[in-house]
């Protein structure tokens, strides 16, 4: 790269956050990377890797009173050193020469202004356009980012647009002033898979058409493969590996990059156990490979001597059904006008059979009703119709008192481990509570012993017992939530997007844990997820839902090999990294 070709050069960037009067935590530890003009660079890493903090530093969006940027740090943009620019000049650059799009379009747009006025504001502010001129330009921009019927949508409020359309509006706003650099911070993470694909294609085509540079921040390596020229892999505030995308993704040199590439379940393989980061880091340290006979773990198979290479999935004819759901329906009623109400069918005539010791995957995009199915089965929502037979008894028509006895046998693990644990309870209280309620164990001493055993089972130190949930990371919290369910020795476990909020490496660990528990206790899972690769890995049977109805229900191998319904095919085609 010639020096002139480089639009943005970050060198030795060090950023620390003040957390107390004189304590700081270093989030970025000497990161350097370059973004060429007209090129796409991806910053890849898991949460806490410092990738977002680095990009916010480039934009100058870090709160000055809580952040300390190291004295040796440098951010050169288009020949100018940004860190020594006065604040006013820097602000003028933002939005005009470089622009940013954020993860959550819903919270990045102001809900009380129309999208047209929000884009127009950028144009009038930075380019000094008049009202009419700005409106004309806004229409062009909306058209360019692929909003259907821009003449109508220009006067719409953000809440009247879908998530994908909102993100398109954000992109329109970002490119309004024809910036030289577009920073996209996890632009598709909050969106459905099919929308994700469209947004990434839009960013790629805009980059080419407008000859701008794109700095893409993401945790998803598969996404990177499709769009980026260069990849920078970050972990714990340091750059682990950097280079051309083809090289980094094809022949990763760093153990961490390898691990990231292989921890995600793949559609074409189903290893007995998913490899986790620790496997790779250990291997990198000791060169120890003997443990993994039968396959090279660098190829992502993580196979042990005890098991065959791949896990068989699917229902067998002799499987014993544990839960039979017939025509499950759930409607919500929206008030309309003074007396009228409108029915909204969240779940519409869903039927399936769950076999003992098997996993049913439920797949769908947001609003497909997949979560509602789970909540209704646990009676956290009242079903409108249908039945769920468990040992021949209908769970849905029981009285609350009768159902109390069944509660311990059907349990749920929620999506967000940060929200599903009461922050004011210690882990001990969290684990003992269900046992006390259901009178499991003779006294508290016995229950405590059981809780200790469970902590060990889910891979947490016994010392966790006295601690509060906020002291744990996301993956550890999800283990606590799993342990809480296990205290009641349930037979059916509903996993509602249970691994979606976790980092790729942690996701693999939790999936392995769930699989081990199924092998050991013969648990049956209803595994709800939007992530088709994860479902392919864990599920025996897959149910695809759309707008409350089941569009396809088949064995998981069969469904992925030969999808019958066009919607299933669309979903499968949208998976990033799939040829």
């Amino acid at each position: 790269m010639m020096a002139d070709d480089i639009l943005l050069e970050v060198s030795q960037l060090r950023i620390a956050f003040r957390i107390g009067r004189d304590t700081t935590v270093e989030a970025v530890k000497g990161v350097s990377f370059k973004v060429p003009r007209n090129g796409t660079v991806a910053l890849v890493g898991e949460s806490g890797s410092g990738k977002s903090v680095s990009s916010l530093a480039v934009m100058g969006l870090l709160a000055p009173d809580t952040t300390v940027i190291g004295p040796s740090s440098g951010i050169r943009f288009d020949g100018r050193e940004l860190l020594s620019l006065p604040a006013a000049e820097r602000r003028a650059l933002c939005g005009k020469e470089m622009a940013m799009i954020f993860q959550e379009p819903m919270s990045s747009l102001n809900p009380v202004f129309t999208v047209g006025s929000q884009i127009g504001e950028v144009l009038r502010l930075h380019l000094g356009m008049g009202r009419a001129q700005a409106r004309r330009r806004t229409l062009e921009l909306l058209d360019e980012v692929g909003i259907p019927d821009p003449a109508v949508k220009i006067d719409a409020y953000p809440s009247q647009l879908s998530g994908g359309q909102q993100q398109r509006v954000m992109i329109a706003m970002a490119i309004a002033c024809e910036p030289k650099l577009l920073i996209a911070d996890e632009p598709t993470t909050a969106l459905d898979v099919t929308i994700q694909k469209q947004i990434m294609e839009l960013i790629a085509s805009l980059q080419k058409r407008r000859a701008m540079a794109v700095l893409l921040i993401t945790h998803d390596l598969a996404l990177v493969a499709e769009i980026a020229d260069h990849v920078v892999v970050m972990r714990h505030g340091e750059v682990r590996e950097a280079g051309a995308a083809r090289q980094v993704l094809g022949e990763p040199a760093d153990a961490y990059t390898k691990a990231l590439l292989h921890c995600r379940p793949r559609l074409d393989q189903r290893p007995w156990r998913l490899p986790v980061i620790a496997d790779y880091m250990k291997e990198a340290e000791a060169g120890e490979r003997q443990r993994f006979a039968g396959g090279d773990i660098a190829e992502g198979q993580g196979v042990t001597l005890l098991h065959p290479l791949e896990r068989e999935r699917g229902y067998r004819p002799d499987d014993e059904p544990v839960l039979v759901v017939n025509n499950l329906s759930k409607s919500f009623y929206l008030r309309e006008g003074w007396f009228g109400k409108r029915e909204f069918k969240a779940v519409d005539n869903v039927s399936f059979t769950l076999a003992r010791g098997r996993t049913l995957g439920v797949v769908g995009e947001s609003g497909s009703g997949k979560t509602t199915v789970g909540l209704t089965l646990l009676r956290l929502h009242q079903a409108t119709g249908g039945s769920a037979l468990f040992e021949g008894r209908d769970l849905l028509s029981m009285t609350a008192r009768e159902f109390q006895a069944y509660k311990r046998r059907i349990q749920i693990i929620f999506q967000n481990p940060y929200a599903s644990l009461n922050p004011r309870f210690t882990v001990g209280q969290i684990l003992l509570e269900p046992m006390r309620i259901h009178r499991i164990g003779a006294d508290d001493r016995e229950r405590t012993a059981a809780a200790y055993a469970l902590l060990e089972k889910v891979g947490l130190p016994v010392a966790a017992f006295q601690r509060y949930p906020h002291e744990f990371s996301g993956g550890q919290r999800q283990r606590i939530a799993i342990a809480r369910c296990l205290t009641m020795k349930p037979e059916i476990l509903v996993c509602d997007e249970s691994v979606s909020a976790l980092d790729v490496s942690v996701q693999a660990q939790v999936l392995n844990l769930l699989q081990d528990l199924q092998d050991e206790f013969g648990l049956s899972y209803i595994f709800i997820s939007h992530d088709l690769s994860v479902v392919k890995y864990i599920a025996d049977q897959v149910m695809v839902m759309r707008q409350g109805a089941v569009v396809e229900l088949a064995g998981s191998d069969e469904l992925y090999r030969d999808p019958k319904h066009p919607y299933t095919r669309t979903l499968l085609a949208a998976i990033a990294g799939r040829a």
Binding site: I412, P423, R424, A463, R484
Partner: protein, 343 residues
């Protein structure tokens, strides 16, 4: 968090909150001021200090020592004419009784030789020559107790109503909301006077009841909103899924997570009720005769001020301002320290 941090001593949320509070200098200063007031309250209630506040140690309206005795408007400049100057009224049917009383008084005055009344007092004296500093301390006893007890009552009622209303929603919520609307539709002073008229006796307990029964509306509204917000949270759904009872979910799961709202409301109301007691006493619905409070002091001060005797007003106002300011700052800091959004 790594295994290394897991081996340290466990820090609960309260420990963390205390740590955050301690790091805040303003908070610690205001905490010290509030603690000093509470200590003073304890000492005066147990009779260690200011037990003799009713002794008439100074001359009427004795000026503060630092002002000096000779200031205009300080000592009564117009000496009251001697009682003896009044001639006996031969037509007075009570003349004999009065004469007897006068003789009795004179005899008592001879028996206990009148202590020399001081011309000045450290911070002046009131109409009867009471020491203002002691009077302020004694008055604080009433005012602070009224503030704390009434605020506790109001927040207690508000929390229970708010929890029931927010958690159950639907008809329960409607009923409570109607009740709330009726309460808040009546102007607050009128409401207070109405309750005072119904209770019909004056005393500290009555003031606590009046303020508590009329002040629950604010906490009710906030706690209700918090319960509505929290009842759909995943941790409550999780509690439901493990079979926790409604009561358990309401008070053992949700309440600790919204307790900061109740606590902050408590301290805001303490401040408000100390002021409200002043207004009540000022209007004559407050503490009974013979009990002193900051409010009754201010009530007396309105007449004195015209005569240029500012010290009683100043003493009560300074004490109140100091406590109220310190309490407000402490409240603010408490709110920040107790916010459960810990990482």
């Amino acid at each position: 968090m790594t295994a290394a941090t897991l081996t340290g001593p466990p820090a609960g949320l309260w420990t963390l909150a205390w740590r955050r509070l301690r790091a805040d200098r303003v908070a610690m200063l205001s905490l010290a001021v509030v603690a000093a007031f509470l200590l003073m309250l304890a000492l005066s209630a147990s009779g260690v200090v200011a037990a003799d506040w009713e002794d008439e140690v100074g001359v009427n309206y004795a000026p503060p020592g630092f002002v000096g005795a000779g200031v205009a408007g300080a000592a009564p400049s117009v000496a009251l004419p001697e009682q003896a100057a009044l001639p006996d009224n031969p037509f007075d049917p009570l003349a004999d009784d009065i004469r007897a009383l006068k003789a009795q008084l004179a005899a008592r005055a001879d028996a206990a030789p009148a202590r020399a009344r001081r011309a000045t007092l450290p911070f002046g004296g009131d109409k009867w020559g009471h020491d203002i500093i002691k009077k302020t301390i004694k008055g604080g006893e009433t005012s602070i107790v009224v503030g704390l007890a009434a605020a506790a009552l109001a927040v207690g009622i508000g929390t229970v109503f708010g929890a029931l209303s927010g958690y159950w929603g639907g008809v329960v919520d409607d009923v409570f909301n109607w009740f709330y609307s009726i309460f808040t539709a009546i102007p607050s002073v009128l409401m207070i006077l109405a309750v005072a008229a119904v209770l019909q006796q004056r005393g500290v307990a009555t003031i606590v009841l009046i303020l508590g029964l009329t002040g629950w509306t604010g906490p009710y509204r906030l706690i209700r909103a918090e319960y509505i917000k929290h009842k759909g949270r995943e941790y409550v759904l999780a509690a439901d899924a493990i079979g926790a009872s409604h009561w358990r979910k309401m008070f053992s799961h949700i309440f600790p997570n919204v307790s900061h709202v109740a606590l902050v409301q408590l301290s805001i109301l303490v401040v408000g009720f100390i002021k409200a007691e002043v207004i009540l006493s000022f209007l004559g619905f407050g503490v009974p005769v013979g009990v002193v409070s900051w409010g009754s002091m201010l009530n007396e001060a309105q007449n004195e001020l015209i005569l240029g005797r500012w010290w009683q007003l100043t003493a009560a106002a300074i004490a109140m301002a100091l406590l109220v300011t310190a309490f407000s700052l402490l409240t603010d800091a408490l709110r920040d320290a107790l916010d459960p959004k810990v990482k």
